[in-house]
Symmetry: C2
Subunit: 216 residues, 2 copies
């Protein structure tokens, strides 16, 4: 029984890693579509979000099924409950990737953000992709050094996010309303994506250390 | 044992209702602070968000505790797992109320949105408050008619949300960049608030009918 349970926990973990890989792919394509105004890549991201949603539903069913059959306690129970939370966060990260891709599609053939902010959004995209890759590795290896790196990357993203608002609200801003709207939303989506990664990282740290931390 | 368990489920439900009441209060004050530029009310909402966060943490601990001790199966298990999900959504609704209040505080003593959009935001606020009240009642009574009403209110909110973008991107828009940013974010926060309520309503419908529906 115990062995079956351990095998099922590995199955949960494998599925979380797989979901994280889908998300990694989504944010990689979304930020490229966004930065390069690649409308077909944007459409791919939008279509593929269903895969992430289905994976989340399937994983939740598996987790509930394990709770019902194995009735885990203590740390094992926390692992299964955490899997439900992590799955919800990954699902939202998929949605946010989709939102970034949608901005690229709406504005096509125009670029989404004005040239003065393109470098900032390039860096935001690079950081979100890096965070997604670290998250996949964190889920695979439970190496807590990666959780720390994700928090640091998120701090830099928060700085860039504030920088976008400073630029848009600054006296030298020449953007039209559409540029202001797109920059505001895009910055928010990039920032929320990273927030969810931090929430997942905290969940994993909690499992490893037993210390509870608010699910920001 | 069974009776203790039923009592614990009622405790979970009572706490969810209490959290929903906190959220109702938060969105009521946040939208009033937003519409009337009431900075002290905004600060109250911001300070009170901690109560919602603590309530969410406490509820999650209780739910995990019940899973560990009672090892529920079938419908009982679904109820406890749903409580975890509902608590997470309520916590986010509290955050979004806080974000709306923060916009009011940032712009004080100015109003957050230009006069041309004030009526729209008034209606968005009224609808979010109505949704929060219906959600509290839905959690208390499990009257599925309320779930349906929440979905309908959300449809109207989506229309208004699109209307804000149409206004901001229209040719007659005279707002400064700060108005564009605030209107974009505020509209998004109002809309996300309602989305979470719909997600919770779907959770409750699912518990009642057994039919699974994607967690938006």
């Amino acid at each position: 029984m115990r062995e079956v349970f351990q095998q099922e926990l590995r199955e949960v973990q494998d599925r979380l890693v797989e979901m994280a890989e889908f998300v990694e792919n989504a944010i990689e394509n979304a930020t490229r579509a966004f930065n390069e105004s690649d409308v077909s890549l944007a459409e791919l991201v939008i279509a593929d979000d269903r895969k992430i949603d289905s994976a989340a539903l399937a994983l939740d069913e598996l987790a509930i099924n394990i709770l019902a059959r194995q009735q885990p306690v203590a740390r094992d129970l926390r692992i299964v409950v955490s899997a439900l939370r992590i799955s919800a966060s990954l699902e939202r990260m998929g949605d946010l990737s989709e939102h970034i891709a949608q901005l690229a599609r709406y504005r096509f053939p125009e670029k989404v953000v004005p040239s003065s902010l393109r470098e900032t959004f390039h860096e935001l995209g690079v950081l979100d992709v890096a965070i997604a890759k670290k998250l996949t590795e964190l889920l695979r290896t439970e190496d807590l050094k990666l959780a720390e790196e994700i928090r640091n990357d998120d701090d830099r993203i928060d700085e860039l996010h504030v920088g976008v608002f400073d630029a848009v609200l600054g006296e030298t801003w020449k953007g039209a309303a559409v540029d202001t709207v797109d920059s505001t939303l895009a910055s928010r989506y990039h920032e929320r994506f990273a927030d969810h990664a931090v929430t997942i990282a905290k969940n994993i740290q909690y499992l490893a250390t037993g210390e509870f931390s608010a699910t920001a």
